[in-house]
């Protein structure tokens, strides 16, 4: 154990690079997070539990995690299709479309939120189309989901694209010579190879969705118990000078997000082992 730490690799420079890695991660990631947990720990387990089971907090957490999961799932399906089209087909404007995928990354989230809200509001372009049917998109959980789909798309597309590019076409040709239809080839030969990448993209989009604030608050309507997201509740608590309450919710979110990402990583490890690239 000790000797393996001393000589973990034949590559030189391990000590130096590892030192930088630890210092960097500690400073950038772990320090703020531990400050958060430390602050919340003043409450004790029972205090934390009391805040966690507050109906308004529970509702907000449910909205945030539930809709982030839903949005990531939608993106997993359609983002895969987008990545497929961008990689596999040659068509005029492909590069333009490819660049457009990154827009949700680049756009300030508040701008995206205002744009989405104005389109999906009952008097907006899309909102006015569905309003006669009695549907409302903006200022409901559906509106939140749309905003989360918007910000999550690049994560899925950008993680799948390189894997698709690497995929040898001879595997698909082999399936065809064996008599498999195109659909069958896609479902049984191509998709299983993409699963680890889709899961990674899913996890990234989900994490982004849980923490998303800017693009959501404009379209959400922010009704407590209906369309109030957990990050907004944190801001509300902060504005009421309830710093402990805010850190408590933040800690809960941190824990829950960690658990979900851990689960996704475990599924991914199994999928990767099945593919043989251990």
């Amino acid at each position: 154990m000790l000797s393996s730490l001393r000589r973990p690799s034949i590559l030189p420079g391990f000590g130096f690079a590892f030192g930088i890695t630890l210092a960097y991660l500690g400073l950038i990631v772990l320090l703020p997070l531990s400050a958060l947990v430390l602050r919340a720990s003043g409450l004790g387990v029972s205090g934390l539990w009391a805040i966690a089971t507050e109906p308004r907090v529970l509702a907000a957490l449910k909205v945030s995690f539930g809709l982030a999961l839903a949005a990531a799932t939608v993106n997993a399906v359609f983002g895969t299709i987008v990545a497929w089209v961008l990689v596999r087909y040659e068509f005029p404007g492909r590069r333009l479309l490819d660049a457009a995928v990154d827009l949700p990354f680049a756009l300030p989230t508040a701008v995206a939120g205002i744009a989405l809200a104005s389109i999906y509001a009952p008097n907006g372009w899309v909102g006015s189309l569905v309003a006669p049917l009695g549907w409302k998109i903006a200022f409901t959980p559906l509106g939140i989901a749309i905003a989360l789909v918007f910000v999550g798309l690049p994560f899925i597309v950008r993680t799948i694209q390189p894997v698709l590019l690497d995929l040898e076409s001879d595997v698909e040709e082999a399936a065809a010579t064996l008599g498999a239809s195109r659909l069958r080839t896609l479902l049984q030969v191509v998709l299983p190879v993409l699963v680890p990448a889709i899961l990674t993209g899913f996890a990234l989009a989900f994490a982004r969705g849980v923490g998303e604030y800017g693009s959501v608050i404009f379209i959400a309507g922010n009704l407590p118990f209906v369309s109030e997201i957990a990050p907004l509740l944190i801001v509300v608590k902060l504005e009421g000078f309830d710093y402990t309450g805010a850190t408590a919710i933040a800690t809960l979110m941190l824990g829950a997000a960690f658990l979900v990402l851990l689960a996704v990583n475990l599924i991914q490890a199994v999928a990767r082992r099945r593919l043989g690239n251990v």
């Binding site: 040898e168 001879d170 595997v171 040709e173 082999a174 399936a175 065809a176 010579t177 064996l178 008599g179 498999a180 239809s181 069958r184 049984q188 030969v189 299983p192 190879v193 099945r274 593919l275 043989g276 690239n277 251990v278």
Partner: protein, 347 residues
């Protein structure tokens, strides 16, 4: 099943020049093992893929037996295709890989589960991989993977077996073993088989007939003996085995190397300038007399020597010839050589 490709033309860029296949026709008899041999870019893989239906020809037809397969899709052609890089399904076990072609059949034609399982085990036995059915491709060696790929192709009972550089990614020892083994499988199963290779030893050793391709055309097709002993074109002579060539003139019933007469008979109709192709064993040192040649370099090649000689009458043109190890000579010496054999191509 007899396979015929007729007047196949295939262009990749769509333009008129540089066709990948330029009006190629190929007849393969039922149960025959034919090699498509050529340098890279000669069109051999393209021809194989056109026969499989993986590539659409610009014109021409492919027949399986009497049936025109040209309009049929890859799936309908029922060919067994083996790819150079195996193209196994990484996420499936070996057994699932082999069963794939049977599992994807429509309900009416799909064999029952037990029958599929029996076939898989039988094929694993045929390719000598019994007991590995639960492994995944990543756990096998290259040679084993290629044998799985062959078993998978054979599982669908193909009308014709097509192999694209099947041993190209394997090391020399495994190649030789698999070569012999593929011949045995072919003799046992009797499939009409076409395989692509750039390795002439592989083609000559394995195939009943060899088609030599260059620049989208078939230069010659024949038995390995034909190809080696009677190359039809300078390209084939150059490509198959080792050969050097010299500019000669056919005149007065004899070949002339500058002012020196080569003691080889001119066949009827051969006249004028051309090149004489000789293999290393076709030219020998002969103390009794011959054409003077200067030794440029000598190498030891196992049991014999290989000498590079030049003819003073011709300037820089060089020829590689075999010499017995016992014969001791140095670069710079001039020795008489005699031509035993050679092939003349006018032009």
């Amino acid at each position: 099943m007899q396979v015929r490709a007729q007047n196949i033309i295939k262009r990749f860029d769509g333009g008129p020049g540089n066709a990948a296949l330029d009006d190629v026709s190929l007849d393969v008899g039922s149960g025959e093992l034919v090699a498509l041999l050529g340098p890279s870019g000669s069109g051999k893989t393209t021809l194989l893929r056109v026969i499989a239906g993986l590539e659409q020809a610009n014109s021409g037809q492919v027949f399986f037996g009497d049936e025109d397969a040209s309009q049929k899709s890859v799936q309908e052609r029922r060919v067994g295709f083996v790819f150079q890089n195996y193209a196994l399904f990484k996420h499936m076990t070996i057994a699932e890989n082999i069963a794939f072609g049977l599992e994807v059949r429509t309900r009416g034609t799909r064999p029952p589960k037990a029958e599929i399982k029996r076939r898989v085990l039988e094929l694993l036995d045929l390719v000598q991989l019994s007991g590995l059915d639960k492994r995944r491709p990543a756990q096998l060696s290259g040679g084993q993977r290629q044998r799985v790929a062959l078993a998978r192709a054979l599982a669908v009972e193909p009308k014709v077996l097509l192999l694209d550089e099947p041993f190209g990614a394997l090391d020399a020892k495994v190649r030789r073993d698999l070569r012999r083994w593929l011949r045995e499988i072919h003799d046992r199963t009797g499939h009409t088989t076409i395989f692509v290779t750039h390795d002439q030893d592989e083609a000559l050793e394995l195939a009943d007939r060899v088609a030599v391709l260059s620049k989208g055309k078939i230069e010659q097709i024949g038995t390995p003996d034909d190809i080696y002993d009677h190359p039809a074109t300078p390209f084939v002579h150059d490509f198959i085995g080792e050969a050097s060539s010299l500019p000669v003139v056919a005149r007065d019933g004899s070949f002339w190397l500058g002012a020196e007469r080569i003691g080889l008979p001119v066949l009827g109709g051969q006249a004028g300038q051309g090149r004489l192709f000789v293999r290393p064993q076709d030219v020998v040192f002969d103390q009794a007399g011959g054409i003077p040649a200067e030794v440029v370099a000598v190498r030891r090649t196992g049991a014999a020597r290989r000498a590079e000689i030049a003819f003073p009458a011709l300037g820089g043109e060089r020829v590689e010839i075999n010499a017995p190890a016992a014969l001791n000579f140095q670069p710079g010496e001039t020795l008489p050589v005699r031509f035993m054999r050679g092939t003349f191509y006018p032009g």
